[in-house]
Amino acid sequence: MSAIAIPATEMPAEWRLPYRGTIGMACLIIAEAAIFTIFVVAYLFYVGKSLSGPTPRGVLETPIFFTVCLLSSSLTIHLASKALERGARGAFVFLWLSTIVLGGAFLFGTGQEWHRLIHEHGLTISTNLFGTTYYSLVGLHAFHVIVGLTLMAIVALFAIVGYVGRDHAPRIGALSLYWHFVDIVWVVVFVVVYVIGR
């Protein structure tokens, strides 16, 4: 039998399947969501179960400004990928860099909060259950922010040199999906840690 086995019967008029990058990223997001779910469940399960201080009510301050930074970076990255689809490279680079700045500001905020908690309140990951769950959950999210920023910085380098064009729009779209996910996770973490947890 020939390796060209299947005779071309009537070719389906149009045969279009989804872009593999989007599907791959969606799968990764589902997997990551499961990891975050476990950490969120652990956080909620241990709310108020610490045997010693400090407590969330005593030491946590709501990071409104940095939250606004992170959430608005979702908007800029969306506009950036739209700009790239149109072929507006200048607008893309500007919006892309703004996304990195906003994400970086958020990361700075997290660092500042940790610095304050460690030095002013003596709260570390081994202090009590609150410390363990807080640093794990917020740290896991911060880790994802760092990964996102690294990936975006690589794209920014290529974009500034001029390598990123309209052809790359689907890939940039997949990366921005990841960044949206990081933002949505922050909404959940914010509600859990700063609203319910207190």
């Binding site: 390796a3 060209i4 086995a5 299947i6 009537e10 399947l17 593999r20 599907i23 791959g24 241990y46």
Partner: protein
Amino acid sequence: MTTDAVVIPGAVVEGRPWTSVLHEWVTTVDHKRIGVLYIVYALLFIVIAGCEALIIRVQLMFPHNEFVSPQVFNRMFTMHGTTMIFFVAMPVLIGFSNYLVPLMIGARDMAFPRLNAFSFWLTAFGGLLLYFSFLGGSGLYGAGNAPDVGWWAYAPLALKAFSPGHSSDYWTIALIVSGFGSVGSAVNVIATVLCMRCPGMHLGRMPLLAWLNLVMSAMLLIVITPLTAAQFMLLVDRYLGGHFFDTQAGGSAVLWMHFFWIFGHPEVYVLILPCFAFISEIIPVFSRKPMFGYPVMVAASVAIGFVSMSVWAHHMFTVGMNSYANSFFAITTMAVGIPTGIKIFNWLGTMWGGRIQLKTPMLFAIAFLFQFLIAGLTGIMMAAAPFDWQLSLSYFVVAHFHYVIVGGILFALFGAFYYWYPKVTGRMMDETLGKWHFWLFVLGFHLCFDVMHIPGLLGMPRRIYTYEPGRGWDTLNLIVSIGAFVQALAVLIFVVNLVMSYFKGEPAGDDPWDAWTLEWATSSPPPAHNFATIPTVASRRPLWDLKHPEDPDSRYE
């Protein structure tokens, strides 16, 4: 490529330096080679973990036996369980799906070939890391030791106070690493199935194997990751002084159980779904009938995927959950039997009235049907919480899940080996040796695992190091151990068959079983690009359409 131009891989490598061949295999991104790597790797580990099982069985052969020390015994059952699940069952099944899914959906490779290679090497190094613990488990303290906290590593046993040294860390990190590998390959299979199908292959025309691997991969995404998360928590507890599972500081040991079994139970379905896939390909071909109830099979697979996510705490009835939780998990566990039952009836419906050919793959498939049914029935027995209170943590449970894993998963796998071996190597496996393998394995399996239920009912706890004579367990344990050795003998025949057939087997040709799915349309072994032209399909059985142009399936779909 015509049949007589088929090249045997052994012939290709002749005359080339071995370093160049090795380099080619190590750097490969071809889904078929990676599939073979996964399978060979798993075969290596099945021998290791099988030897560990034999050590356990020798120890339990007689009362007051001292074949190994209690410490070694603990390591053996921990390593046996961990290895069999994570470094045998997972890689071998992922290997088959790597090899077969692109071929069956008419694609030239997986969606992300490099991610595919990366996933394999993560899994491979995970296994090496686990076994390195024999040398490095205690680090600088002296003699090495392997993890000995059981394959579920309950807290607080796995915490620093009760598991000093690094043995548990090797377990943790090996599973994190191989877990990332599994997630990578799951992402890959899903993207391949959704984005790489050949023209005309709607989801409703996909081979059931591709469907079941799709469901299995989707489950993997949300099943492996909770374990990874829990492992990170365990590392935080062990190394950063965290308190997740530290009851002294308000932490909860039960939370670890939940997290582990949120992974642990769906994992069983992750393992069995690809085996359903093998059975769903083998039974129609050797019954000479198309699959009975294809849409229902797909629906049942998806239903199993969903329901099996909500049954985990039936492993924890004895922990002392409230009656609502007990009832919920008892009901969901029984409910998962419904879609599974649907599948068994559909396979029987496929065989019904067919011209059944009792070749070796079909023998294994038929044995699978019987044994998987019994395994399911003992599962339903233990789904009843009060019954489970009596038998949890006894040898009845050990017998039950070995019935699933050996009687179900391993039998289906052996069937798959005999069925696809001609495609992978271009040569047939020997039928006579295959029959010997089958009958000896059936004998050994039933001697071992049928009998094993009884000491469990009589109260023999699992993981016990040794026992007093005169409790009625003595003869039974001896029979179980003899059964284990009969199975080992059968596996030896299988290995001999695998190796001999590779060099001396009858040339298989492209389509030795007169089958209907796309992998049989290309040469055996398939060329690197799989298909010279991407095929176009018009029905669920494209090769039937090709062989019977006067009466194609596409006319009825």
